[in-house]
Symmetry: C2
Subunit: 257 residues, 2 copies
């Protein structure tokens, strides 16, 4: 998280969600998708891009050869005493390789193990763990996967053996034809995101705190180590991803004019 | 670690260690201290400071009210295939508060639990965990301490509740009169070190990768995100600490002219 402050965007999102439920009950599920595309309470425009927040139930993006599931959407809610509650999004990529993207906070250990078990995945089945950046709400459970290839920020390791990588030089780490790890710096100096192509929703970008949430235009800069660099990373993401999974909110769709 | 390359300083250190043992056997222990102070193979000079590497057996710095113990000295050794083996130093501060500084890599889980148990410390006894920075070889086992106050880089949290802190603004986080967490950026943008005053060795600074090792003058810049900022942090450390515990090597004494 690394925040001095964190504004709660969950209040507006909850109101929009309630409105969405009302429309769903009135008009049926087929209308919900259209509402999502146009509902101003769930849509923000930034330059040529619209971001449309998906619902709490749209956490799975099936595909061939790879599917993406959000095991836990991250959140961030400010308290009046100056503290805030926060957790990082945890995502699972399944297909020819099994990839966990972020591990949540240290308090997520049991949740994470149970969530994987619910999907028939044991910790030993995870072949690659990606920590999008080294904040405690994203890398709290690395030790559940000691035998996995591990990418945390720019570091690539297997056990205590670290491999050279060119992530720090801006080069992509290619897992295979469909999955890659992209340097997306700004929130910290060493952020990465995981890109999965070919899902039913198109290209999915699991972005860590490159995006805090679907509607973070007035918050992300406060949490950024380098806003200029992060803005470049964000624009690249918006140019290429169809769905972005942010670090502290629900997935959102990207519409390009 | 976050290194594109890592030179091994352990070969020279081992040779010096062997020479030290020979002198010890010939002249007795009182001479060893003098040899350590002057042996050029264990001493480097940088400006007005000499750094003197301590021996592998000098890992405990008792004191009142606080003692410092290195549970595992970090290391870094390069391989000919371009990979390198590395682990971060793990340190324990005991006294009125029990503080763990860095948790090692994800593969250190069992070692860490056993090492604490050997000292009569259970995971639940740890009141504060400090991750000096968010690299995988330092924050691999955060989830062993879900009930501890946790400082990882600039983030201060208890469970999923994050507290405001001024570490990002350069202010010290004061634990009590003798223990404090200092912002020491450079290796990453959000590094911290733990300072313990009043030990038998004087002021001990547990520095993470602010210093890679006692003799890192030709290596630390390759691993630094901001060498200018890190140089400032290093100079401050050398001005105030009597012993520095680096992130990837044995503790070293600082002598000021």
């Amino acid at each position: 998280m690394s925040a001095l402050s964190c504004r709660s965007v969950t209040v507006a999102a909850a109101a929009a969600e309630e409105e969405l439920r009302r429309v769903f009950l009135q008009y049926g599920s087929s209308s919900v998708f259209l509402v999502e595309m146009t509902d101003p309470d769930r849509t923000v425009r930034s330059g040529p891009y619209q971001r449309v927040c998906l619902s709490e139930t749209q956490l799975d993006f099936p595909g061939l050869p790879y599917s993406v599931s959000v095991l836990k959407p991250g959140f961030c809610s400010a308290h009046t005493d100056g503290t805030f509650r926060a957790d990082g999004t945890i995502s699972l990529v399944t297909g020819p390789k099994t990839v966990l993207v972020d591990t949540g906070g240290p308090w997520d250990r049991d949740f994470l193990l149970q969530s994987l078990e619910d999907r028939g995945v044991g910790p030993g089945d995870i072949e690659l763990v990606v920590g999008t950046h080294g904040h405690s709400d994203h890398v709290g459970n690395l030790n559940l996967f000691p035998s996995a290839l591990m990418i945390v920020g720019h570091d690539v390791s297997e056990g205590d053996t670290y491999r050279p990588s060119q992530l720090a030089e801006g080069q992509t780490f290619i897992v295979d034809e469909h999955v890659s790890v992209l340097p997306t710096p700004g929130h910290t100096g060493q952020d990465v995101s995981v890109q999965v192509t070919g899902t039913s929703a198109g290209t999915v970008l699991i972005a860590g705190d490159l995006f805090e949430s679907w509607s973070d235009e007035d918050t992300w800069r406060d949490l950024s180590m380098n806003t200029t660099v992060q803005e470049v990373s964000r624009q690249k993401a918006l140019q290429t991803a169809d769905v972005i999974i942010p670090g502290h909110g629900l997935p959102f769709r990207v519409l390009r004019n």
